[in-house]
Amino acid sequence: MRELAIFMNTPKVGGAERSMVHQAKLLNKENPNLKIKFYIPFIEHKREANDFFKFLATQGFEKDCVTLFQFHSGLYGVSRSGKFFNLINILIGLFYSLYSIRRLKLSDDILLWGNGNKISVLLSLYILFHSQDLRLIWHWRDYPPRNGIFHYLIRFLNQRLRKTITHVGNSFDVTQSLSDFFDGNARVKTVYNPVGENIDCNKQRTKSSFSIGIVAMFSEWKGVHDAITLFSLYEEEFRAMNIDKIKIYGGEIYKTDGGHNNITDQYKELINKYDSTFFSFEGLKDPTKIYSEIDCLFHTSNRAEPFGRVLVEACMAKVPVVSTGLGGAGELVTKNNLGWAVKPYDYYGQLNLFSTLFKMIQCHDQEFQKKIEDSYSFAINLNNKVTAQLKEVLL
C-alpha cells in the first residue's frame, strides 16, 4: 500500500473529522513512509473547506496533501436532516458525486478510508462499478441504521464487497452492533477515538464556587435541553452546592434543514420559559480553554453515543465526568470506570449524584481523587491503544 486516501463526509470540522485527522497523525507518526492524502467534499464552493485546511495545518498536514471534490447538495442534505427525502434528488446526487470521485482518478493500489457512512456508501459504489481491487475501510461514526433505504443498501454493499470492506467502529459497543447488523458476515474492528491534543489546564481546584459544563454539538439527541430541565428543576439545590453557573459549549455546526435548525434559539426559549439565570452559552472553544473553565463535565446524550470524545478530553484535564452512559459512552464511563453514570430523564437521581460528587470534590475525597487519576492515566495512554488498534486494521 503506497497511499492512504482518507475521504471525509463533510467540509465542516466536527468531532468525527477531528478524530479522523488525529488518527491519521498517529499513523503518520508510526509509519512516516505512508503517504496520507485527505479528500474533502464541498457542496457549492471550495471555500467551504477553508476551516478544514486551517485545522489540518495545525496538525502538521500541508495543503498539498488535500484534494477537494464535489458532493451533490441533495445527497449532502439527506443524512443530516433525517427527513423523508426526494428519491430522484438522491439518485441524481449519487451519480453526480460518484462522477466527482471518478474524476479523481484514484489508482488501484491505494487504501480508501471512508470517514462516515455517506462517503463510504459512495466509495463502495465506486469500487463496485470501477475496481474491486481497491480496499475500503468503512469508518462508522454512528450506529448502523435500523430501517430505511440505507439499512438495505449498506447490507447489500457489504454482501457484494465482503472481502473488500473492513468496518471500523468507535467502540466495542458499536462494533458489536455492526456484527449483529451484518449477522456476523463482515470484517469488523474497533478503533477508539484518540485524544488529539494534550489538555493541560493547571486548574486551581480549591475554590469556593464551581461550574458544570455541557460540551456538545447542538442537536436534539445530545440532550442539552434535558440538562436545562434538570438544572432548572433543582436550581436552588445546585446553587446550595456552590455551583454558580452551567456553561453550555458548542454550536449548530451542521446547519441544514431539519431538526438541527434553530436549536440554539429553542434552548434559549426553554431557559426563558423556566425563567432561569443559571446558564451561559459559551460558543465554540478549544478543549484546553473549556476544561480550564469548568469543574465537572455533564455528558447528556439521550441516545447511544458511539464513543464520547469529550469524556476522554475531560479525563485528560482531570475534570470529573457525569454521563448518561449510553452506548460507547457507557463503555468508557462504566466498563472503563472513567466517570459516573446517571439514568437518562432521571432528574432527581441526577441531582443526587451531583450532590454526592460535589461533596467529594469539596472534601478532597481520596476515592474520588484516585478515580480522577486513573481516568487521567487512561486518557494519556489512549493514543497508544489507538495506534495499536489502527495497526490491526491496516494489517
Binding site: 436534539e220 435541553h225 433543582y234 429553542q266 439514568k343 430523564y345 432521571d346 432528574y347 437521581g349
Partner: protein, 347 residues
Amino acid sequence: MPFIKESGHEGPRVIITTPDYPPKLGGLSTFASNIRKSLLSIGIRPDIFVWTNYSELKDLNQHQGYDFALHIHYMAGHSAKKIAKKHINFIHGSEILFHSPNPIKKFVKNVLKRGMLDYLETSHFNFFISSFTKNKLCQKGYASSCERDVVFHNCIDTVGAKRVTLQDRESILRFVCVARDVPHKNMDGTVKFLEKVQTLIPQDIELFVTAENRWPSSKIKIHSIKNISDEEREKVFQRSHYNILLSLDHSHLGFYEGFGLTVLEAGKYGIPSVVSPYGGLPEAVHHRNTGIVLDDTLSAQIFVESHDEYLSLSRQVFEHTNSSHSLIRYDDLLGLVFKNNIPKENS
C-alpha cells in the same frame, strides 16, 4: 360532574381537563388526581373539567379566561384552544397513534391529525411519559422542539412503600403480571417465556395474572387474580419475586406500552420487573440495575443469578422508585412550570 370550580383565589387561573376523574377508576383518573394534588401543594387551586365525549368538549369553550390549561388528554386542548393563554399537555401513549379499530373513527382521526399536531406544536409545554412516545409522535409528522417537549417519566403515590424481602426464593419464584389479556400485552408470550425459564432453574415458578386463566400449563402454576381489589393487588405484589410485563409494540394496531406503570407499582416494594424491550418499558426499567430488559441476546439463563444479585436489584429498584418516581417529582415539575405564578404565601 363535568365541571368542578375551585379557583377564585390568588394566583393564576388554571383548569385541568380530563376524560377520567375519581371516583372513576383508571390510570388517567389517578393521573389527573395526582396533578391536581401537586398543583394544590404549590398553592394553585385548579378548576377541573371532566369530559367523556367530543360533544362535551364543546361545552369546554364556555369556560374561558384561564391563564393555563392542563390537559390530561390533548384532544381537549385541541377542541378548546381559546379557553386559556397557555396550554400544557400530558402525553401518555397510544393516543398519539391516531388509530382506531373502527375504520370510520380511524379515518376521522387521520383527517384531524394535522390539526392536532399543529395544536401540539403551538402549545406551551408537552410532557411525554417516555422518549419512545415522543419519538413515535415525531414519526407521525410532529415537529418536536426542545423549548416545548419535555420527557418526564411517570410517578406514583409511594405512601405505604416498604421493601419486602422474601426468604423463599430458593424454592419458588413468584411472578405477577398485572395486565389485560389483550394481544399487545402478550400474555401467551409471558407464559411461554416462563415455561422456558422453568426448564433452567430448580425452583418452582408461579405466575399470578389479572386475567382469566386460559393457559393449561403443565410446567408452571398459573393463578388468576382477576377482579381483585387494589388493596389485594398490592399484597400480591408484596408476595412476588418479580413483576413481569412482556408487552409488544403493536403501534400499527393502535397499541403499545407508553411507560409501564406496574413497574413502579412493584418497585415501590422492591420488586424488580422483567420487561420486553418495546415501547417505554426500557425507560421504566434500567437493565441490571432496577430490573431486566429482555432482548434476543438474553436467554432465560439470566434467572440463574445469585441471591445477592437479586437482593441488589431489589434494593436498587426500591430506592429508585421511591425517590425518582415519587409524586413529589410532579410538585418539582409544576413548581418549575408555574415558578412565576405561585401565590406569594406559597413560594
